[in-house]
Subunit: 765 residues, 2 copies
């Protein structure tokens, strides 16, 4: 292969670092106005009255939008449940809920106008935590939940509706007989874990520019789901799809935050009202109050034989979904499906809940529920090994699924060698000669921990479409609905197209995303780009190749089966002509184009728990060596080893960067990140107060291994990756801290105060 | 028909009048700089030295581009001959030729910087007029013309190359035996005419924004030929087509001026150099110095029988093409082909020349050589009638081609009833009771004149492509490369698509034009949109309809031949479902789209003079009643009647507006417009000095008749129109002036001084 497998520089890289890349926020349209949003200062209240009179009187204010003049066909939206309103009407449900919006000629005027909007709130009792929200007499975040969808699961998965409660969504996954499993076990262990709510922290906040013309509503949005945004805008305004155009310029990171409507509906409402383009750009503080990773409480109970063999596992996954469902239900479902880990467990019962509280809504986040459950099951397995007096590596090796074995009956078999992966990280970190508990100085102790985690990758059974055009000069353009949110996927696609068409990579370009033109796609998520969309891309390229061969066959007067394509040239016998010549001779100079189309969709299957086959298994194995300062509680990562399986690396450099990026994301959640609340007020929702990993926090020794097991469904055996690396970080570090200190932490992040406190406690795990 | 034939308001109308429509000049990109161009102050000179040192030192100047740092693969360009350079290197060839360009942070700085560029010119002898340029010892505008193309004509048309002369292009069209024809004639008349050089005067000047990223060069341009611009930019910079993206926002008028590269190459060069977006917007004064209608000298010699029957005609068409070929050769070719008018003439010989001079380059202009030749042959025929003592209506009726008759052997037969059209305008203007020569007062005299003109419409044998998408909600998007330059064609296309798909017009939209996505097109010209592109549009809609019927057939479980489509619903027997339901049931909710494709191309035919069949015949008949003030020479149009044939009106309101617009264009050239030069300096190249028709000049009685002869090749028999109306205006008015005053004017515009001077002369025609 000439194009695939090469570490081609990212096609968007140079323009991004040189500052030439244009983002939605860079746009300035004539007459454009600036919008700002007024947010609820209270966590739960009835909105008695909104008076915009004073704001409207301010010079430069063009419109104030409230529940009273919203004037749309559909005022509610939501990916799973339509429980969120464009602007709050009856109630506000968290601090940050949007109540009104202003469009003004200048940013400062819009900000000033917000202060002049008078809102009268009647405060209501609120709930913030999972435990409080589940109490029988808990105040309800939503009175009615009558529009909850039935996802239509297959065998082994079910959706249980809890009316008149704060349970937004409940997914059950079971097999075998959980009680019988515990009876057959020699010992049963139960542990409770807590995982923080993190912020996606994309460099670019949520923003869009909307221009509502009579003819077409155009929205330039920093979104990772342009077609769902189109669909929602069409529904909200009662427009045909053809009258809504969503354009996605370069996007400054997504990580799940940029799925679904964020700023678009408000900006479009204002633009329609005033007849001018409207920019609505959230500040970082507002992005913090828009969407987050759901905080989790996890209960894992495992029955084992004396030799460490797993017999039964019961998992309870409680996700704090915040005030609105968003994609929280899907996160709960995925977290539930993955909650028992990549192990052979005959008897299984999992209940996963997404729970409403009066906090920032939770939803899709890199890892999609995986980091929460991986922290639980991988710390739990370490604790079991310790209790049984077994080696933590050995107990994993004993229970890990083999390649080809079922994770869940009927679902895609395990598509790589998990045990080989585990051996590799154990060897790399020096498991056999580990220094656990050794004291480096008076107060500093070192330890090594490992973790093996897995998630079903590639998302749901969404369709993938791609189009490949061969222009008259033989150059090639690819168009797909996958959004480049920094994962490098456009470069990988370009390599696939170049490979399939036998052309140089520098004659291939990837078109900008525009819902008027780009073939339909449901959104960019679940590490699906290369593995799922990649198949549509490959098929579109092959469709174009077939047509190119036909043209070459006509020009060379040879059967197309005898025509060879190589590096932009077609040959038959001794005759060789360039693709450009083929195009021009077959379709006339400058006139003809070839259009190739590709479609791929994961199969539905009612026999598997989620109702469709998992496209592939994304793994994330990690090993850490830490040094814990017993005086301060500070945890320092000395070495970190990450391992995943890419099936086949289309672009090795990008694969490594994706895995490194994922591991650093995990590091943040393991050590620092947490959205802190007090009485429903987010305390650290700003760039200053929220602690992220910096370059100083990167372990001095940081290694990424990428296996190429060829087991993926994608082109050339490729699998998705880029989320696996996040999964094992917190448990690997927590296990290393235990190894170093003998103290077990069941809650991340492992902040110094929490570590120090645990080290001074008596209780042991 | 429900959608076609209705006067639907223009889909771009509301947004344009409300100021919401975005033009290329409205764009503001981050870091965008402003470019300005330095132009030659002399008509012909060798450029000895260009020193940009002082300009570059000016604060805010980012780059000065000259011949010395252009750094492109191809520095010359041109639609027919590549005789023009992005920036002049060795020589400048007219006052306004571009020598250098500046990019600066602000408009004022760029303007200031231009003054600081030192250029040393060595002046050369120059030629400005056709007669001077054709002298044997005339200075040559271009020393070498070795890259002149052979257009490859068919029988009856030929291309004669004149080396070492100022003849850029020479087209000959002949049939019969011209000398024999004159011998057979009872009388032979020869007259010489002059037609002015007009400015297109689009409301929006030439401009673009170029953003040269590492990945893709994107140009937002006010162009009517985005794909040729892409092709030229790709060649100039050595890029694949896939790396050049030309986007066309709303365009503020074209009229032929906006064909080909204008500002794009310079802006792109500057953007590449400085790594920032560059806007280059010509002022109106620069647009005047960029492209114009070729000034014409015309010699028509006709042999007639005593009864007025035409036997032979010899035409000489000399077009002043200015300093660069541009599309002047094609204008000459078309003018030549049309030069004898819509008459039966057995013996014919035409020579048409495009001639280089040191003046503003001439090129495509609404009518494309037709107004020049129509003025000649329609004034000439009036003069013949007068000399023979015949009625000017009668001599035309006698010689006009019949429907189905050949204009030229083998070419498309005449596709409408010319005589019926002539009768209609004669009746409307009151030909039989005309007041010719009547004195209204001491000095004012009234007269009536008519003219019948025709041009081959629909352009060359360019291909037309269109794509029709049916989205998942049943709504429809059309994509074609035809540029909406004010002619209303997008609305007509929308109506065709709605008609073919049996959907409401308000569910159809027309996509914005983007060469990365829009199917290939060669440019918008020659009244080709509805008649030629319309066929591709119709075919694309039919292709989509076929797929929709297949889907409906599957959903309704009925043979597709039995499924009826009506107003967005499909029915079979008693069952009726919406297109939305069909899409969602057949392709799953929100996922599937239907893509229809349409292609049409006029056939090549080596047996006809131009080598391809004329798509249709565009006619323009006019009748005018004028009042001439013998004291001032002022010509006032009291009544004007215009008539054309649309074949079938897709949108009657648009058709009428197109014909009215064309007639007013003709009025300007008949009465006011002319680019005046002195020593090669354009004297009236500004909005203030150039006299255009205003609303006050519109005749108090102004009627448009549109025949629907069903004879066109377009959808439902439609023909192109919008240029026909311009053709007969000048001769109809000149003939009316003769009728009023007995004085014959062989030169337009009929400015008061010229009319007054002629009225005081002795010579008669």
């Amino acid at each position: 292969m000439t194009a695939v497998g090469r570490s081609l520089p990212r096609i968007d890289g140079l323009d991004k670092v040189a500052g030439r890349a244009i983002y939605a926020g860079d746009l300035h349209l004539p007459g454009m106005t600036i919008a700002k949003v007024l947010r609820s200062p209270v966590p739960h209240a009835r909105v008695r009255r909104i008076d915009a009179t004073r704001a409207l009187a301010l010079h430069g204010v063009l419109a104030v939008l409230t529940r009273d003049n919203l004037d749309v066909v559909g005022r509610s939206f939501g990916a799973y449940v339509r429980d969120q309103e464009i602007l709050a009407s009856e109630k506000v449900r968290y601090v940050g809920d949007m109540v009104a919006a202003v469009a003004a000629t200048e940013d400062g005027i819009a900000a000033e106008a917000l202060k002049l909007i008078d809102v009268e709130y009647e405060e209501l009792p609120a709930v913030f935590t999972i435990d409080d929200a589940l109490k029988t007499d808990a105040p309800l975040v939503h009175d009615t939940l009558d529009n909850r969808k039935d996802p239509g699961y297959g065998r082994g998965g079910s959706h249980i509706v809890h009316d008149h409660s704060n349970i937004c969504f409940h997914f059950r996954h079971e097999r075998g007989d959980i009680q019988e499993g515990f009876r057959q076990s020699d010992q049963v262990f139960e542990d409770v874990f807590h995982f923080p709510s993190a912020q996606h922290y994309p460099m670019e906040p949520h923003l869009c520019v909307a221009h509502f013309e009579a003819c077409v509503l155009t929205v330039w949005s920093a979104t990772q789901s342009p077609f769902p945004v189109r669909q929602e805008l069409a529904r909200i305004f009662g427009l045909p799809f053809s009258a809504v155009r969503v354009i996605v310029p370069h996007v400054g990171g997504g990580y799940g935050a940029k799925s679904g409507i964020k700023t678009e509906a408000i900006a479009a409402c204002l633009s329609r009202r005033i007849g001018r383009p409207v920019k609505l750009a959230f500040g970082a503080d507002e992005t913090f109050r828009t969407i987050c990773q759901p905080r989790a409480k996890l209960v894992v109970k495992t029955g084992v034989k004396k030799n460490g063999t797993f017999i039964a596992r019961r998992c309870e996954v409680y996700l704090n979904g915040g005030a609105y469902a968003n994609s929280g239900p899907t996160v709960a479902e995925k977290a539930g499906y993955r909650a028992h880990g990549p192990y052979r467990i005959p008897h299984l019962q999992t209940d996963a809940y997404s729970i409403y509280t009066n906090t920032v809504p939770g939803g899709a986040f890199r890892g999609f529920g995986g980091p929460q459950v991986a922290f639980a099951y991988e710390t739990h397995i370490d604790m079991i090994a310790n209790r049984l007096g077994m080696d933590a590596l050995e107990i994993r090796m004993k229970n890990l699924l083999d390649k080809g074995e079922s994770f869940s009956s009927g679902d895609t078999p395990i598509d790589c060698d998990l045990k080989a992966g585990l051996r590799r990280i154990a060897q790399a970190i020096g498991w056999d000669s580990r220094p656990n508990g050794e004291t480096q100085s008076d107060s500093k102790r070192r330890g090594i921990g490992i973790a093996t985690a897995m998630k079903d990758g590639g998302g749901t059974n969404k369709p993938a479409n791609a189009a490949v055009t061969i222009f008259n000069d033989g150059s090639v353009l690819l168009s797909t609905g996958s959004v480049e949110i920094g994962q490098g996927m456009r470069t990988a696609f370009l390599q696939i197209v170049a490979e399939e068409l036998s052309v140089a990579t520098d004659s291939v370009r990837v078109a900008a995303l525009d819902t008027h033109y780009t073939p339909f796609d449901k959104g960019t998520n679940a590490s699906s780009a290369t593995s799922v969309m990649g198949q549509a891309v490959q098929r579109a390229a092959r469709d174009a190749r077939r047509q190119l061969l036909e043209a070459a066959s006509a020009v060379l007067k040879a059967p197309s089966s005898e025509v060879r394509l190589d590096n932009g040239f077609a040959s038959h016998g001794t005759e060789t002509i360039s693709f450009r010549e083929i195009m021009q001779r077959q379709f006339r100079d400058s006139e003809g184009e070839i259009w190739g189309r590709g479609y791929f969709k994961v199969a539905r299957d009612k026999n598997v728990p989620l109702g469709y086959l998992s496209p592939f298994w994304e793994i994330g194995f990690g090993a850490a060596e830490v040094e814990v300062d017993s005086e301060t509680g500070e945890v320092k990562i000395l070495r970190y080893v990450s391992l995943t399986d890419a099936g086949k690396m289309i672009n090795p450099l990008q694969c490594e960067a994706q895995d490194e990026g994922a591991a650093v994301f995990g590091l943040g959640q393991a050590l620092f990140e947490d959205l802190a609340y007090q009485d429903g007020q987010l305390l650290n929702g700003s760039l200053i107060d929220y602690r992220l990993p910096t370059f100083e926090d990167i372990p001095p020794s940081f290694t990424t291994f990428i296996m190429e097991g060829q087991g993926g469904p994608g082109p050339y055996g490729a699998k998705g990756m880029g989320e696996g690396g996040i999964l094992p970080v917190a448990p690997a570090i927590a296990n290393a801290v235990f190894a170093a200190t003998g103290k077990r932490l069941r809650t991340v992040p492992l902040s110094p105060d929490r570590v120090w406190q645990t080290m001074t406690e008596k209780r042991q795990g």
